[in-house]
Symmetry: C2
Subunit: 356 residues, 2 copies
């Protein structure tokens, strides 16, 4: 018998306005004159106030990244090469400032700077050999749990799969709820639902233990305070919900919704947040209470999901999604436990996709 030895983020700053401490935090990493930092910043912040507040020094490298599409292994490799072309030395830190996609890019680049051969080689579990460059995550959208997780999810040549390793985990996160103030309602909702769904999948899963349960239950309570009660401190609460949801799945596993959402996302390119919502909305047989509460939240926030996306797609497109979804073994094991292979049939999954 052997238990998971869970690596988590060792240093955290929490609080409104705490982004201003980034310069001080980086100061502890900058030791020699030539030391430089790489900032990967979501390009929605370019020419916005936050862009101007990034504490870039003269010899640092600031790259605005576009995450209109989900991050890919190609994008990671190109960014890594850009950093390597910039200096023959390694940066002392890689900072990701943005939503889950940007944070995952920062994690992946910090790993690829020390692990040669291209990121597609490392999609999977514990394939990373060498420690990453020091890396810092600063969310500007909350819900994915990317700030807390040991993965960086990338679309690769063959599949969408994360770089899962202890080295992937951020060395430092800064949770400043002021930064998530300007997020458009749709994105705020979809990304927050990623967190809510993490909790449902964790709590209803066979991998659950009291560690994961305590985090998921609290995260879910916080989601309710944000999306049902419209709490005055909802930005801070959503930030904590996201972190705790991430802590929960790190010691359990996601489930049916993420499996279906990965298939949908990989084939049709839907972003993770909305992809999860589209998938979750047809999973009432898996998660009756969770889906009912989710629909209540959608109504409260006037969220209308696109309809009939898959209804008329060619059979081979559906088959491709079914194949990706079916390949997510650990997720289905978490849903059904032993013998999941017999329950996850092409027929069952095809029916689900046709309803999306």
């Amino acid at each position: 018998m052997s238990f998971k030895n869970f690596k988590c983020v060792p240093k955290m700053i929490f609080g409104r306005g705490s982004f201003a401490d980034l310069d001080k935090v980086l100061g502890e990493e900058r030791k020699a004159e030539e030391d430089f930092v790489v900032f990967l910043v979501d390009d929605v912040h370019q020419d916005k106030p936050l862009g101007g507040r990034v504490p870039v020094k003269a010899h640092d490298l600031l790259i605005y990244v576009n995450v209109d599409d989900e991050p890919t292994t190609k994008q990671v490799d190109a960014l890594t090469e850009q950093v390597q072309a910039f200096s023959k030395n390694q940066p002392v830190s890689v900072v990701g400032l943005g939503g889950g996609s940007t944070l995952d890019l920062a994690k992946a680049v910090s790993l690829m700077l020390t692990n040669p051969g291209g990121s597609a080689m490392y999609q999977g579990w514990d394939l990373i050999k060498n420690p990453a460059i020091h890396h810092i995550g600063i969310p500007t959208v909350s819900g994915t749990g990317a700030e807390a997780s040991r993965t960086a999810v990338l679309c690769g040549p063959v599949r969408k799969l994360g770089l899962n390793s202890d080295y992937t985990v951020f060395d430092q996160i800064i949770m400043d709820s002021e930064l998530i103030a300007g997020v458009p309602t749709d994105q705020w909702f979809y990304t927050g639902m990623d967190c809510y769904i993490h909790c449902v999948e964790s709590l209803e899963g066979t991998y659950l233990n009291e560690f994961a349960k305590a985090f998921a239950e609290k995260s879910m309570d916080l989601c309710r305070e944000v999306y049902i009660d419209d709490h005055a401190e909802k930005a801070d609460k959503l930030m904590m919900a996201s972190y705790m949801g991430g802590m929960s799945i790190a010691y359990s596993q996601v489930g049916a919704c993420h499996a279906v959402s990965y298939g949908l996302g990989y084939v049709l390119g839907y972003h993770h947040g909305i992809g999860n919502c589209l998938a979750f909305d047809v999973l009432e047989e898996f998660y009756p209470e969770g889906v009912a509460e989710f629909r209540k939240m959608m109504i409260k926030h006037n969220i209308v999901l696109p309809k009939n996306i898959c209804k008329d797609l060619p059979d081979e497109t559906i088959a491709k999604m079914v194949a990706v979804t079916k390949s997510m073994g650990p997720l289905w094991d978490n849903v059904y436990g032993e013998g999941w292979e017999e329950k996850v049939t092409d027929e069952m999954l095809t029916k689900l996709f046709r309803r999306i």
Copy 2:
């Protein structure tokens, strides 16, 4: 404006039976032939099944420690010298196996092996200069939060005060609820109440933020499941409550109960758990709801606190306790906020002590 950069335990194992993984975890630290580990084990486990399960190798050092009294700087210095006499090399890890006192001893020894001059020099905040030896905490009693905290509380020549630093934090903890099965009811109750009181003090304090709040609220819910609902999974839940309570105060602060308890403990030698209960029971004006629920829990578990301990003590003994209690500035700042100095009078504290 500057925020706390909170260092937390980076690696955690949780689960019934996970103590068996300790050998594997230590294997990653043992690199050279001569590498050795120091085990500090609460002597209640000597000649008990758990004592026999400690994965000691031929050239390791196993020391059974006595914690009938609260740990002292003298005890830490003597243990450190014992390790130094054992080998001219440093150990690759220091493992603490026991309750909060034993865990604090392990933290303190791991620090004193790399920071010369004796532990009394480092009682305070951020006085530690050098990183500690790798250290692992394995609680066999739950509630203190010592597994999660950045302090090792010691009675020194002048006062009871912790070695507070980022280096104090364990590198690894193992939370195996099987280990807390044999704890006597009184100790189980008093130590668990340390956790409950952490939550009350955190939630009612001026230092509270949403990070500390989320952890304290969940920890308190778990305490209720343990001490009121008598939940079937209460050992696992208490372990999580303790961890989360520790996480909460790490990002906020304790309050009036710990201040009074420190005075009581330093002068009369009461252990931290029962000291807190004695103090909390006279603090209904500070924490009316918390104290009411605490008394309900005492009744449920047939806990009867000693009475009239301080009633007839000489004035100078009370004055000594008052002085220690009054000196806990940050705790009173958490209780009252700015201007606390005017509110924490000798008269008020003397009245409280006379009621214990």
